[in-house]
């Protein structure tokens, strides 16, 4: 089956009749007809129908790696802002390796406004969200700054197998953590250039020739 790239679909646009394909994100079915739910780019392959949204809020999915900001230190864990209509909770057991006396002050591990890179570990049907630091990549992020982009642009910012984000990291010598929730943490002397590159990708994510444009921007 031909991969149809860059075909923009609108909510309600008829995609095709379902012939046993898996339904990816942002499509819905009425009878055997598949439609788009959002404005986005249609991705059709032999066994999956999916639409990549061009806008929208971050909805947490298990397994996503996100950049979060600690909002509140609570008794048994921390409340984390993951840039979503839904707050996340980092339980004590998922945040710290060793045994912690419940009377100790948890803010010495993570304090308000600390930035963390963590994993979404649970999402219930009613959107109660739990995150965990039990991942190879999870860590507290020191210094640096945060920028927020539309979560739907993150795949383009990362690029195929990380090609785009690595290009930016290499050319600017910055440490960059990209959260699937649209929050990006950057640290380094040339972070202004990195930010410009990222914001350009966000604005023009759906056009071709973007990679060349970014390379040019970063070399300048």
């Amino acid at each position: 089956m031909v991969e149809v790239k860059r075909l923009i679909v609108l909510p309600g646009d008829f995609i095709k009749e379902r012939k046993g394909e898996k339904l990816g994100k942002n499509v819905y079915v009425e009878g055997s007809n598949v439609f788009s739910r959002v404005i986005g780019i249609l991705k059709l392959s032999e066994n999956e129908i999916e639409v990549y949204p061009l806008s929208g809020k971050y909805m947490p999915m298990v397994g996503d790696k996100v950049v979060g900001i600690v909002k509140e230190v609570e008794v048994s864990g921390w409340l984390i802002d993951i840039n979503s209509p839904y707050p996340a909770f980092l339980p004590l057991s998922e945040g710290v390796e060793s045994f912690i006396d419940s009377r100790s002050d948890l803010s010495k591990f993570f304090g308000t406004n600390d930035i963390i890179f963590c994993k979404i570990s649970r999402v219930t049907k009613n959107k109660i969200v739990q995150v965990s630091m039990r991942d190879f990549l999870a860590r507290k992020l020191y210094s640096g700054i945060i920028i927020k982009v539309s979560p739907s642009k993150i795949p383009r910012i990362i690029g195929k197998a990380g090609s785009m984000i690595n290009l930016i990291k290499n050319k600017t010598n910055c440490d960059i953590y990209t959260g699937q929730n649209g929050v990006i943490w950057i640290r380094g002397d040339e972070k202004a250039k990195a930010i410009e590159a990222i914001l350009t990708i966000e604005k023009e994510s759906h056009i071709t020739g973007l990679t060349e444009k970014i390379e040019k921007l970063l070399s300048g």
């Binding site: 923009i8 309600g12 439609f35 209509p85 839904y86 009613n126």
Partner: protein, 241 residues
């Protein structure tokens, strides 16, 4: 509604020169409110409606939350300077009613169950009123919702139809509305042939009503095409740079 002293049709044409079945010039623009998650401005002739959408976002106070589904809140308001006789600021009975019917016009199109405990807030401001304000507001809100990435079954489209000086017409101006024998507001999901808003007043026989509803359906389809084009163009223009 009836004040048939005023002649609204001269030689088969309306006061603004339109044919009976002609829509006013329509303009639609996206992203007019940068702070909003999605926004749009829609003009039908002199009527100007701006809609902005915030959400889905967390809903407080907690007791308003629905644990299994998101809610939709809608506020329709007319600016004091939007009409000839200044309208006192703040909600009046008409705005309260219209806020409700507009909310119900948009709701069937939105996948609210995807956002338990959250809310999607729609704000519509009429900054210039010349008839058909609620349907213009719905057309703008629909664009704003799609633009914000809110998952929808399809777009919602509205238009007004009615009867003036014995003839059935489309897209009434303020003057026509006030002097009409009947005016009917319709909103639908054209892609699904579903009616989501239907209000009428005046005097119509059942046959006239059915005829005028068909008129509405035809024109909602036309307006829907304009909405779709505006959304597609947003991404197309950047593509050609």
């Amino acid at each position: 509604m009836e004040n048939s002293k005023k002649e609204l049709l001269v030689d088969g044409k309306r006061l603004d020169g339109r044919a009976l079945d002609q829509l006013r010039p329509i303009q639609m623009k996206l992203d007019v409110v940068s702070q909003a998650d999605g926004s749009a401005e829609v003009r039908f002739g002199n009527t100007i409606a701006i809609a902005s959408v915030y959400g889905p976002r967390a809903l407080y106070p907690r007791f308003l939350q629905e644990s299994e589904t998101g809610i939709l809140r809608c506020r329709y308001n007319m600016a004091p300077f939007s009409v000839e006789d200044r309208k006192s600021p703040g909600p009046d009975r008409r705005s309260i009613e219209l806020s409700k019917v507009i909310r119900l016009a948009l709701k069937p199109a939105i996948f609210l169950e995807e956002f338990p405990k959250a809310t999607i807030d729609v704000f519509i401001e009429i900054i210039q009123g010349d008839g058909s304000t609620r349907v213009s507001g719905i057309n703008a809100a629909s664009l704003a919702l799609a633009s914000a990435g809110v998952p929808m079954r399809a777009l919602v489209t509205g238009c007004s139809v009615g009867k003036i000086d014995g003839s059935l017409v489309v897209d009434l101006t303020g003057e026509e509305d006030m002097n009409s024998e009947s005016d009917v507001a319709v909103a639908m999901i054209p892609d699904k042939n579903e009616i989501t808003l239907l209000q009428a007043d005046g005097e119509l026989t059942k046959e006239e009503l059915l005829k005028v509803l068909n008129y509405a359906r035809e024109n909602c389809l036309k307006i829907n095409e304009i909405q779709k084009k505006v959304l597609r163009d947003k991404y197309k223009t950047v593509e050609s740079e």
